[in-house]
Each structure stands twice: as C-alpha cells, then as structure tokens.
Amino acid sequence: MSDAAAPANSPTPAGAPAADAGPRDPVTAHAARLVQAKVPGAVVEVVETGRHPFLRITAEHLVAACLVLRDDPELALDCCHLVSAVDWLGKTPADGPGSIEVVYHLVSYAKKTSAAYRRSAVKNDGFVVLRVRVPRDKPEVPSVMGVWVGADWHEREMWDLMGVKFTDRPLLRRILLPEDWPGHPLRKDWAYPVEYHGIPIIPPEGR
C-alpha cells in the first residue's frame, strides 16, 4: 500500500503487515489440544497459524470448553475480554440461511502479569479466540456468564444488537436500545423502521 518503509533502526515496524501464514501460535495450539482431550467433540476447527488463530467450538460444548480453558493452570484464561458476534449473511452461501458467529476473545491476566512474561522478549496480546457458529434462524448459544462474570453485559449487548440468544442466564434483555425497539440492528437484513413512536427515522442512504 505504502511506499514509505520503516527506518532500519525501528525495533518494531509499527503497523507493518503481518503475513497470514505466520508462525504457529503455541497458546492456541495448547488450548486446542486441551479442549480436544477434555471435552471430546467440542472443537470443530483449529487455526493455529496466521494473524488470527482461533478455535471453533460447538455451541453445546461451549461452557464445558470455557471452564477447561479457564481452570487450566497453563492457560488460566481468567478474563473474557470481549464477546462479539458477526452476521455472515450472504458471505457463506453454503450455510443456506447463513450463520451468525459469536466470537470470544479470552486473555489471561494471571499469565500476562507473571514474572516469566515480563522477562520474555516477545510481548503479544496473547488472546485465545473462540468462535461459535450458529444458524441465523436459531442463534442460540449457552451463556458463559457463569464462567466469566464480565461476559454478562457483553452478552446482553450482543442480544440487543445482533439477536444472539444466550441461554441459561437471567436477565437477557436489551441493554442499549429501548425495550420496544424493532429487531436487532446489526443483523445484515435489518431494515430501518419508518418511525419510532412518531419520530420519523431517516436511514443513512435516505428514503
């Protein structure tokens, strides 16, 4: 993209493009082996290399897998940094009605604040990414609120904006939008309502 090259003295070429076929991520590899061993049938797909390694987990085994990952002394993933979801409508034609993917970014503060990490030359984010793919017409994912209490509001937000139904948890109700707001706006097929309580709504492209 850019002609400007980073100077030679720069220890980290900031923003430098990382190759997709990068080195193997040992943390994800370990996590994958662990979950495969302890929760059979949970891991659908593992990508250990590249910029964004991840584990794809089946929805029904999610909580068990999360508990394994959290309680493993090697990983000690004690924080659910972010729960997000993406609507793949029209991007994965093989799925038929399409799918919604819920993505968990997990991180370990216990490991990241350890003396060993402080000494290590390589400093990285060290996220373990779990992905759960559910059909668009029945987006039900068990809640991980019992594993990481911080997932509570994130899950509510994903229900509010994306319409992912997190099961086995209390109080799954809208958090940002009004209770009577129509639909889940981040769904790709969500249509702007004409009005809300008499307030006309003009979508960005105009009406």
Binding site: M1, S2, A4, A5, A6, P7, S10, P11, T12, P13, A14, G15, A16, P17, A18, D20, R51, H52, R70, A76, D78, C79, C80, H81, L82, S84, V86, D87, K91, V103, H105, Y109, A110, K112, T113, Y117, R118, K123, D125, F127, V129, M145, G146, V147, W148, V149, G150, D152, W153, E157, L161, R169, P170, L171, R174, L176, P178, P185, L186, P204
Partner: protein
C-alpha cells in the same frame, strides 16, 4: 487468581448476586441494621430511588436504580443506553475514512486515544506503514490527551466528594492541554487529527515549546492538587476502604486501566503488549500498594493511580518530544481504502482502560463488522457487585473513582 463460578443467581431487582462479598465497612452497618430490625414490630420500607439520568454525579446520562434502606444501598441496577449513537452500525455503513471521526465521539474526553486505536486497527487490516514522525506525533498527542483526561478525572472526583475547588484548578491546566490540541486539530474536544496512515498536521517548533510548557505546568501543579485531595484527611476518609474491588473480581469483570492497576494487577497494555511505538519509551506503571493509605483496590487507590499515571504520561510525552524525528507525517494512501479480507483485534490503553477494536474486512471499502470494546462499559459493570451495602455517598465515590464516560459505555 481463581474464580468461583457464579453458583446461583438470586435476583434482587434484576441484579446477580456478587461473586465476592463487598468489603465495605458500611456493609457491617447494613448488617447491623438488618439484625436489629429482625424480630421487631417496627417495619421499615426500602426506598427505590432513581439516580440519574439527570443526577449531578452520574457523569453523564447514566441511570442507576438504587434500593436504599435509609442511606444504605441494598441493591442497584445501572441502566445504560441513553447515549447510544450506533458507532458500530455506522462503521458498517460508511467507508473507513468517513467512519473515523465517529470514533472520537465514543470517549469524548480521550478522543485522540480512540483515534489512535482505530487507526492502528485499520492500518493493520490494510497493511499500511506509518511514517516514523507520525508515530511520534501520535504518541505525543495521545499522552497530552491522557494528561488532560486524567487531571479532568481527578478534578471531577473532587467534585464528587464535595470539593469544588480542585475541579476548577484542574480545568485551568486541562484548558491549556485542550488549547494545544486545538492548535493542531482545530477542535477543542473532538479532533480527528490522527488519520489512517499518519496524522493530519505536523508539529511546529512553537507548538513543541508550548507543549513543554504545558507539561511543566501540569507537573508543577500536581502536588497542589494533592494537597487539596489526595493528602486531605476528609478525602481519605471518604475514599479509603470504600468500594474495594479485589483483583479477581476486577479481572473477572474485565475491568481495565487505572481501575485494574488500583486493584493491584500489574498490567498496562502500553508496556506489556505494546502498540505503535510505545516499546521505545521508558516509563513506570504505577501499581497500587497498601503503603499509601487505605487498602488496595479502594477508591483512594484509583485516584492515586491516576495521579501517578499523569506523571508517567508527562514522562512519555517528553521522551517523544525529545526523540521526534524529521520526515513525512502521512503515508500515501489510495483514494478508496479497500483492506483485503481479514480481521483484526487491536487493544490500546485509553485513559479509562483498554479500548479494543475488532474489525472484519470483506475486501470492500466498508467494514463488514466493527465491534468496539469500551473500557467504561466493562468498568461500570463491576459496580453492581461492589456497591451493595455502601452508603449513597460511597456509591457516588465509587462511581466517580471508576471514571466512566457514558459516551463510551453506550457508544
């Protein structure tokens, strides 16, 4: 650090039971009151009070429904969303270039830091290399913004605890910082100065002199703020041992930033997972220790960490000003930015905690999905667990010490 899985979820006003009992001495008071009223004919009623969205100390349009027994808060439930402006939805509807100004509006007290993270995320997606000088300018601006944001937070915390004067004193210095950013960006609060691939304007020598003067002024004033707040006996009584967040609870809730370090967790993204050029600077990460006053994790330490971090931000900004190399400030970019398919997760250290962007690009000029993790969003959640049993005054102290910005909670 270990976590007790949340075993049962009794609903008190829609609130989930705390994983860790609140360590507030007012809780003892509440328990004593409860024990005393047991078995007596006199029945007292709990009062449900709506705190906000137009309350002076909810820092914006936060609404907290609190159940009080006299002055003791027995349950509370924050209601957010009054300031929801669909940043994520807008991000999917607009090209990357055009989305960038909206990021400023999330944490409107640290707009530069928001831009910094967003630009790094988009640059990583598109594989853009930022010129060296631009990287330094970014750090300088981000740290000036951090200083402005932290002294603002310190002053406003004085307001929350009932001292109005420190607020105006910190505003005097913050105004200088905003003037600095105004000179370079043309705006006082929302700048849009950090652009994809560089920065909008170069720093002039006069600006650099003025920036040094600002940093010196703040450094000189910090002890003055401390005589008004940090060293003040009444302030210590109001904040020490109040709203204690144990480290395990903080990590579990995803609390980040000064609030996390105030709980004794030694983590700063700038040092431990550096982004931009933060690995080139020498700075300390202040961690709460009980040698100051109170206990680790209380409101006092959150204020204390903020004060210490201001010093470190000044230090980083000075180093960046010293090392500022000559050269370009903007990488050459195409008219329409079309990052290749892929995704990116970038977290940056904002004054309020870790701001993270998760972006999914589909090869077009608009992102397929953008998700922003606002630090205040996670920080505010912990309140439901910590505030129970506190007095109303403690609730205000706790909310102020978490230093939330509602623009970012609601996004």
């Amino acid at each position: 650090m270990s976590h007790e899985p949340v075993p049962s979820v009794p609903q008190v006003l829609g609130v989930v039971a705390p994983a860790v009992p609140p360590v507030v001495d007012a809780a003892d008071l509440a328990r004593a009151l409860e024990e005393r009223s047991m078995g007596q004919a006199l029945r007292t009623e709990e009062l449900v009070v709506n705190m906000g969205p137009q309350h002076p100390s909810t820092h914006g349009v936060l609404r907290v429904v609190i159940k009080t027994d006299g002055e003791v808060v027995t349950a509370l439930q924050p209601h957010i969303g009054n300031l929801h402006r669909c940043v994520e939805k807008i991000g999917e509807s607009l090209p990357y270039y055009q989305w960038l100004p909206y990021v400023d509006r999330m944490d409107y007290l640290a707009a530069i830091n928001n831009e910094h993270g967003a630009c790094i995320a988009i640059e990583r997606l598109a594989g853009i290399v930022v010129p060296e000088r631009a990287e330094y300018i970014r750090v300088i601006l981000a740290e000036v913004q951090r200083v402005a944001s932290h002294i603002f937070a310190m002053g406003v915390y004085g307001l929350d605890t009932g001292a109005i004067t420190p607020f105006l004193h910190t505003f005097r210095e913050r105004e200088r910082g905003l003037d600095l950013l105004d000179h370079i960006a043309g705006g006082r609060l929302l700048y849009h100065v950090i652009r994809i691939g560089g920065v909008k304007r170069d720093l002039s020598p006069e600006w650099i002199d003025e920036c040094h003067a600002f940093l010196d002024a703040v450094e000189q004033r910090l002890p003055e703020y401390n005589t008004l707040l940090l060293d003040n006996h009444i302030f210590q009584e109001r904040t020490c041992n109040i709203g204690v967040i144990p480290p395990a609870l903080a990590v579990g809730w995803g609390v980040t930033g000064p609030a996390l370090r105030a709980s004794g967790v030694d983590w700063d993204t700038r040092r431990d997972a550096p982004y931009g050029i933060y690995d080139r600077f020498q700075f300390d990460v202040p961690i709460a220790h009980s040698g100051v006053a109170g206990v680790v994790g209380d409101c006092f330490h959150r204020h204390w960490v903020r004060f210490k971090e201001t010093e470190q931000a000044i230090r980083i900004a000075r180093q960046a000003l010293r090392d500022l190399p000559p050269g370009e400030i903007q990488a050459k970019l195409p008219k329409t930015l079309k990052p290749p398919k892929g995704e990116v997760y970038v977290r940056v250290e904002n004054p309020r905690g870790e701001l993270a962007y998760w972006m999914v690009a589909d090869g077009t000029d608009k992102a397929w999905r953008i998700r922003c993790r606002g630090p205040s969003f996670s920080n505010i959640g912990v309140m439901t667990d910590v505030a129970r049993g506190a007095l109303i005054a403690d609730l205000v102290a706790l909310m102020g010490s978490l230093d939330i910005v509602l623009g970012e909670v609601d996004r």
